[in-house]
């Protein structure tokens, strides 16, 4: 046999072998679906240990033609990603598709955060939005309420006493009623705002809420006492009994309301520090006087 014939037979054998070879192709992508360009694919024959390699194109596609039939361990790797291996059995002359999804080396999962902590919760967000919306209205109404509240207390100075006439008392009553109505609406938006579970309250909100235990009963009691005083004065009587405490209760209510307002608006920064010192000084004074008042009031 001459060399030409040998070459011909070899080429024929190679052609036959190529015709029976398998092709492996596929796509390498991130778990999100984004293609990984330049990822390496290595197919190692389990039987022979021979390896063939290919690189992915920009679309993440690869192709390994001319593989002999048999079992292969296919390893996918790319810089910045965790390598992944899969076993595949190739049959002669067939095209096999094998895709791979690689996980980035640096991912939230690799940092150890549980998925419950990293996944969004639209329902909880809606709850927070509703809470903020209601507290925003609470804040605005609270500020607006301060105007008739102060006006009521100031007008109270002219509505009491023997020299006062009905017109001044009526103005005081109208302002008081307006204050009570606005206060009720303000309180509603705070009370009805959704509560967020598992949150331990810290900071100025505690003082703000504590003050409500003073100004809320005060806001209920003041108009009742005022109505009693108004009735007594209208009958030409001197204001007597618990109705006499109308003014004092109103002032305490205004003080508690003011502290509640300041506690959440001014408590840090240069202006806040000055206000905070004044507030503490006022509280100190108030604290000294506080025990005296009820004892005096309790005496017949």
């Amino acid at each position: 046999m001459d060399i030409g014939k040998i070459a011909c037979v070899a080429a024929l054998a190679a052609g036959l072998a190529w015709g029976q070879a398998a092709t492996l192709h596929g796509k390498v992508a991130e778990s999100s679906g984004a293609a990984i360009a330049n990822a390496q694919v290595e197919a190692t024959s389990v039987a022979t240990g021979m390896a063939q390699r290919a690189r992915c194109d920009d679309a993440g596609d690869y192709s390994l033609p001319g593989l002999a039939a048999g079992r292969y361990m296919v390893t996918f790797s790319a810089p910045g990603f965790t390598s992944r291996s899969r076993q595949v059995t190739l049959t002669a002359g067939a095209e096999h598709e094998l895709d791979a999804a690689l996980t980035p080396l640096l991912s939230l999962a690799s940092l150890g955060f549980p998925s419950s902590e990293t996944q969004g919760n639209a329902k909880e967000q809606a709850l927070l939005n509703r809470r903020s919306h209601m507290l925003h209205i609470h804040q605005d109404l609270g500020l607006i309420t301060m105007i008739p509240l102060v006006a009521t207390v100031v007008s109270g100075g002219f509505a009491g006493g023997r020299a006062s006439h009905t017109g001044k008392r009526e103005l005081h009553a109208i302002l008081g009623t307006t204050t009570a109505a606005l206060y009720g609406a303000t309180a509603y938006y705070a009370i009805a705002a959704p509560k967020i579970k598992g949150v331990k309250k810290k900071g100025p909100i505690r003082l703000h809420e504590a003050m409500a235990w003073i100004h809320m009963p005060g806001m209920i009691l003041t108009p009742i006492l005022g109505a009693m005083a108004y009735s007594q004065r209208s009958k030409g009587e001197r204001v007597h009994g618990i109705a006499r405490l109308h003014g004092e209760v109103a002032i305490i209510t205004l003080a508690a309301y003011t502290i509640a307002l300041l506690s959440v608006t001014v408590h840090s920064g240069p202006v806040g520090h000055a206000a905070s010192h004044s507030l503490h000084a006022a509280l100190h004074l108030f604290g000294r006087r506080k025990p005296v008042a009820p004892v005096e009031g309790a005496r017949p």
Binding site: S107, T118, S268
Partner: protein
Amino acid sequence: MRKWLGVAVLALAAPALAQAGSWQLLRSTLIYHVVHPLHHAEGVSHAARGKGVCQAGTCNFLVAAPVNSFQSGDTNRDLHMLQVTRGAQYPMVVVRVTVPQSALHSGTLKANLEVQFAGQDVHYNQVPFQVAAKGPDLTLSGTIPATLTDFKITPPELLMMPIRNQIPVTVQMTWGPG
């Protein structure tokens, strides 16, 4: 015999050498600053976790912290912050940092940051960080020049006055070989 011992030592050292290219966040302090005409407030988080991988001369770091881990000492403010930043819907602030590996041991490095926060993906380029090495650990400190508009956050208001747009985030992180 010596030759074989050398090979064995090299073989044992190989994983350690490979690991020199990976980093683990050991401790961190992240502080956001907000300024209102009546307030200066800060929210602090120590809950960040991070990893870094250096390959082919470039180091990639990933740092993440739950948005609700930032505490300002005022529950009301923290819940409001969580609401305006859409923190329940996007509960993590994720920062990806890219720096040249050679810059890690210099006094100052300039990093490219990709910050995922409040449902937005914002890039800050050439952000300066101070690097201090102590033994095998590195401490990075710097400030991310974040703004509310970057993340499409509506400025919260108090007494009808909004907070300032700038919300710089001060970062101090200590990294050790991972």
